[in-house]
């Protein structure tokens, strides 16, 4: 083995256990936003040890022997949590060979599982990491079925170990798109959904029994949905129209254990009370305000604010290559701005920041329940995902200075940063740019 290969192998092995690189550190005298919905704290301190947050807030002492970073003039926050992304599933959306986000020619649908396909070296992950995104859910897109398959929770660390939780949720598309996929109407989509869940129940009850001759799902698809039926795996439902949302909430009467999450919910504000009463959380794009389809006639940027006011747990999400996860702070910031307009419903700064940190983390199962992983927040025991910003993270002029994931300081270089270094000067007098690296 060459020296270079030895180093590479050592690095790869070490990288599999991020905790090995985790440093103990404290950031002092910074503006600290904990991500839990509260207002930012001036002159705060954040302490990270063994890859976990041990303390955050005002009046926190730095333990002896812990390296201290001066945060004067800076902001410190949990890393951003990007809900429902295609991170790691593609290099270039329009280059089919590089794109694993959908499988429209596969015989499988609900059984599809993105976790083995996620590429931690994807530029989209690197670029999002530079933007302060430290964790995400990755969802497949629908191919030929209303079931897109199973998404994963990942971290964006520069190491080979991206998947925090595989098969973290199933995604089903209803509404106009679901209607088309199911055979032409919403009626067909609901039959397809109910039939699939019933087949799942049968397969779960007798896994090795012969399938009935009119079974429509492959065994693998039905088996995958078995976890959905009994609530072990959340069911993300893509839906926009108010009446469609009501129909989704009504599914619980037949399948009471469904752990539903609404994705989209453009008209959610019209049925906010029902969503809140059903205790179903929502992941949405907050700035959609156009009747882009007949199922979104009531679109408004006040959707999030109004749902929140009604008691719905709402996260900002649905990030892909066009709506990049690093736009999350801008989207949240716009909701703060909305609060100043008569007739509009916005969010407070703390609520807006929570909508891109703790709330999506909780919805994604990283709320620390039952001793599980806690992310999206600076609180004792939470993962050491910490970002130091050069200013208010929701402001357009701000950017991360340092990003830590599980307490490990992350490289922020990527294809884009290398290009900007190369083309900072247009000097062409020496050698071609190709030698400039």
């Amino acid at each position: 083995m060459s020296r270079r290969a030895i180093i590479a192998a050592a690095l790869a092995a070490a990288a599999f256990s991020p905790a090995a690189f985790a440093q103990d550190f404290a950031i002092t005298n910074a503006t600290v936003a904990t991500g839990d919905g509260s207002a930012p704290i001036e002159h705060g301190t954040v302490v990270v040890r063994g890859g976990k947050v041990v303390a955050a807030g005002a009046g926190v002492a730095v333990p002896a022997g812990v390296q201290s970073i001066d945060g004067t003039g800076k902001w410190v926050t949990p890393g951003l949590f990007a809900a429902v992304t295609d991170l790691g599933l593609l290099d270039v959306e329009g280059v089919k060979d590089s794109n694993d986000s959908e499988a429209d020619e596969s015989p499988f649908n609900a059984a599809l599982d993105v976790s083995p396909a996620v590429n931690p070296d994807s530029e989209h992950i690197a670029v999002s990491r530079e933007g302060g995104v430290t964790r995400a859910t990755v969802s497949p897109y629908n191919g030929h079925s209303i079931f897109a398959g199973q998404g994963a929770v990942i971290d964006l660390g520069a190491d080979p170990d991206a998947v925090t939780k595989a098969r973290a949720f199933q995604f089903v598309q209803l509404g106009e798109q679901g209607a088309r996929l199911a055979g032409g109407s919403r009626v067909a989509a609901h039959v397809a959904l109910r039939n699939a869940l019933r087949e799942a129940r049968e397969v779960a009850a007798s896994p090795n029994a012969a399938r009935s001759p009119d079974a429509l799902l492959t065994r693998a698809d039905a088996a995958a949905l078995a976890q959905v039926i009994d609530g072990r795996q959340p069911l993300y439902v893509g839906v926009e129209r108010a009446s469609d949302i009501r129909s989704v909430l009504a599914l619980k009467s037949e399948f009471p254990k469904l752990d539903l999450v609404l994705v989209g919910a453009t008209e959610g504000w019209l049925v906010a009370g029902d969503i809140a009463a059903a205790k179903v959380p929502v992941i949405t794009m907050p700035l959609r305000d156009l009747p882009s389809a007949f199922e979104a006639l009531a679109a408004t940027q006040s959707n999030v604010g109004r749902m929140k006011k009604a008691g719905v747990k709402v996260a900002i999400g649905m990030f892909n290559t066009s709506n990049q996860p690093r736009y999350a702070p801008q989207e949240a910031g716009n909701l703060v701005a909305l609060g100043k307009l008569p007739g509009a419903a916005g969010l407070t700064w703390g609520e807006a920041f929570a909508a891109i940190t703790s709330v999506p983390a909780e919805i994604s199962g990283l709320g620390g329940k039952n001793g599980g992983v806690r992310a999206g927040v600076l609180a004792p025991g939470a993962v050491g995902d910490v970002v130091i910003w050069d200013g208010d993270p929701l402001e357009l002029s701000s950017a991360p200075l340092d990003v830590f994931i599980d307490g490990v300081k992350q490289p922020l270089e990527n294809h884009q940063s290398r290009l900007r270094q190369r083309y900072r000067s247009l000097d062409r007098t020496y050698l071609p740019k190709a030698y400039d690296w």
Binding site: D91, V92, E93, G94, V95, E123, H124, V127, A242, E267, L270, L287, R288, D289, L290, P291, S292, A293, F294, A296, L297, A298, A299, T300, Q301, S302, T321, S322, Q324, P329, Q330, G333, N334, V336, A337, L338, K340, L341, P342, G343, A344, L394, E395, L396, S397, S398, A399, H415, Q416, L419, R420, Y423, R424, L426
Partner: protein, 461 residues
């Protein structure tokens, strides 16, 4: 004030029309009869008339004039649809002006989007309203976007209310190499497209290079299926157009009328083109064929050839930070606009998006910040020109709008904070001095016919 090519065109055709009328009475009338009818330059004329406004004085705001000027505690006066005074606190406010206390707020020119498909790809985005790409031939210089625009697209109202957009250029899509004529609109509610048309704005020709045309036509098994195919089809179209131009026009060809307009410098070329090497090829083609590219749109690699664009006096219309969605966008970087500005190249921030058009100010602010982090510090006042004056200039209407200068159209936005902050919103928007949006007044919020009686009618959006 320089006349735009468009103004020159109207003037020269007026003269031509007069000459023909006179010659009809001449002895050589017989010969005249055989001459083809003159080509009407403007057969779908603008019927836009400014809506009434009151003489208004905005007092005490930070004023960005759109051309790099910044006035603290400024005064902006407009009357009868025109700007009549821009100055500091010492400027006298004539009698009869309604004073608006704008202390702590900001004033900019109306926001301008040089690249929009509102109306041709409206909301709702259903097939029945999808009229932006005539993808039946790789060159369709004969189609005019204004014949597709649906004035009831709710997108116009969102662009006004959330984006402060007062003027926008509607382009055909990029499925074709030569997509057709663009149209410049004032962002006012209107039943007809003619009622929105920016009076006297020059026409533009939408062209596209790169992946889109080769994908669309390659997918149909026809030329072009490659980039070399793109250039061959383009070059032949220009050669044919020049032949037509030199002929007697006995057989009218709508497409070649448009290309002739470009060759004469009367119609501006707005060219969708991402890659640096490809833009350089297009520049050479334009020189070969004798036309000029006014702006490259979506120029994600413009930063690599900022000097070439500057030397050829071509603007780069760019997004702040779109990247990676297609191969030719793989080298997109968020420092693009700043690197261009730093090199002295004309920068325009454009949207190409019915949502993005609502936040051109924010996109510019992000691009500014990305520049600052690599040591390129562009003042706020100059950044504002990226979504105001520079866009107007590249659309050939910079002499009439895009900046706060006396005599220009009173297209004005009052922001409730710095427009380069995420926390700011347009509070009032005037088009030609008429108050068409007021965040504080639910009735100063346009609702398109499409939205009447439907969920969300009249909402703040």
């Amino acid at each position: 004030m320089t006349k735009s090519p468009g103004l020159r065109r109207w003037t020269s055709l007026l003269v031509l029309g007069t000459a023909l009328t006179l010659s009809a009475n001449s002895v050589d009338a017989k010969k005249e009869d055989k001459k083809p009818a003159p080509i009407a330059a403007n057969p779908y004329p603008s019927t836009y008339k400014p809506y009434p406004g009151t003489a208004t004085a905005l007092v005490g705001a930070t004023v960005y004039d759109g051309r790099g000027g910044r006035i603290e505690n400024g005064v902006v006066l407009f009357k009868d649809g025109k700007l009549v005074g821009i100055g500091g606190a010492d400027m006298a406010i004539p009698d009869g002006f309604t004073k608006i206390d704008a202390a702590g707020k900001f004033v900019t020119p109306g926001v301008i989007d040089i690249h929009s498909h509102l109306g041709v790809y409206p909301s709702p985005g259903v097939d029945a309203l999808s009229d932006g790409n005539e993808m039946t031939s790789p060159t369709t210089p004969d189609v005019w976007a204004e014949h597709s625009v649906w004035p009831q697209d709710p997108g116009f109202t969102r662009a006004l209310a959330n984006g402060g957009v007062t003027t926008l250029e509607i382009l055909p899509g990029s499925g074709n190499l030569i997509g057709g004529r663009a149209v410049t609109l004032k962002n006012v509610p209107s039943i007809t497209v003619q009622g929105m048309k920016f009076p006297g704005a020059p026409y533009a020709l939408k062209m596209a290079c790169g992946e889109n045309p080769k994908r669309v036509y390659g997918g149909k098994g026809q030329k072009p299926s490659t980039r070399m195919g793109n250039f061959s089809v383009d070059r032949q179209a220009w050669i044919d157009a020049r032949k037509y131009m030199d002929g007697d026009h006995a057989d009218r060809d709508l497409g070649k009328d448009t290309l002739e307009g470009v060759l004469k410098g009367e119609i501006l070329v707005q060219n969708h083109c991402y890659r640096a090497d490809e833009m350089a090829q297009v520049i050479d083609m334009s020189k070969e064929m004798g036309y000029k590219v006014t702006a490259f749109h979506h120029a994600v690699e413009a930063y690599k050839i900022a000097d070439l664009l500057r030397e050829n006096d071509i603007c780069a219309a760019v997004w702040a930070d779109w990247y990676g969605f297609k191969m030719e966008a793989y080298d997109g970087i968020p420092e693009n606009a700043a690197l261009l500005a730093n090199a002295g190249t004309c920068v325009v921030i454009h949207s190409d998006d019915e949502n993005g058009i609502q936040r051109l100010n924010q996109e510019a602010a992000k691009a500014q910040a990305d520049g600052r982090r690599i040591g390129i510090d562009i003042p706020d006042a100059k950044v504002v020109s990226w979504f105001t004056y520079n866009a107007a200039k590249a659309m050939g209407i910079g002499d009439r709008t895009g900046s706060l200068e006396s005599g220009k159209m009173a297209d004005v936005v009052l922001w409730n904070g710095n427009p380069l902050s995420v926390y700011s919103r347009p509070e009032k928007v005037w088009v030609d001095g008429a108050l068409l949006f007021d965040a504080m007044d639910p009735k100063r919020r346009p609702v398109s016919d499409f939205e009447l009686g439907q969920p969300g009618e009249g909402d703040v959006k």
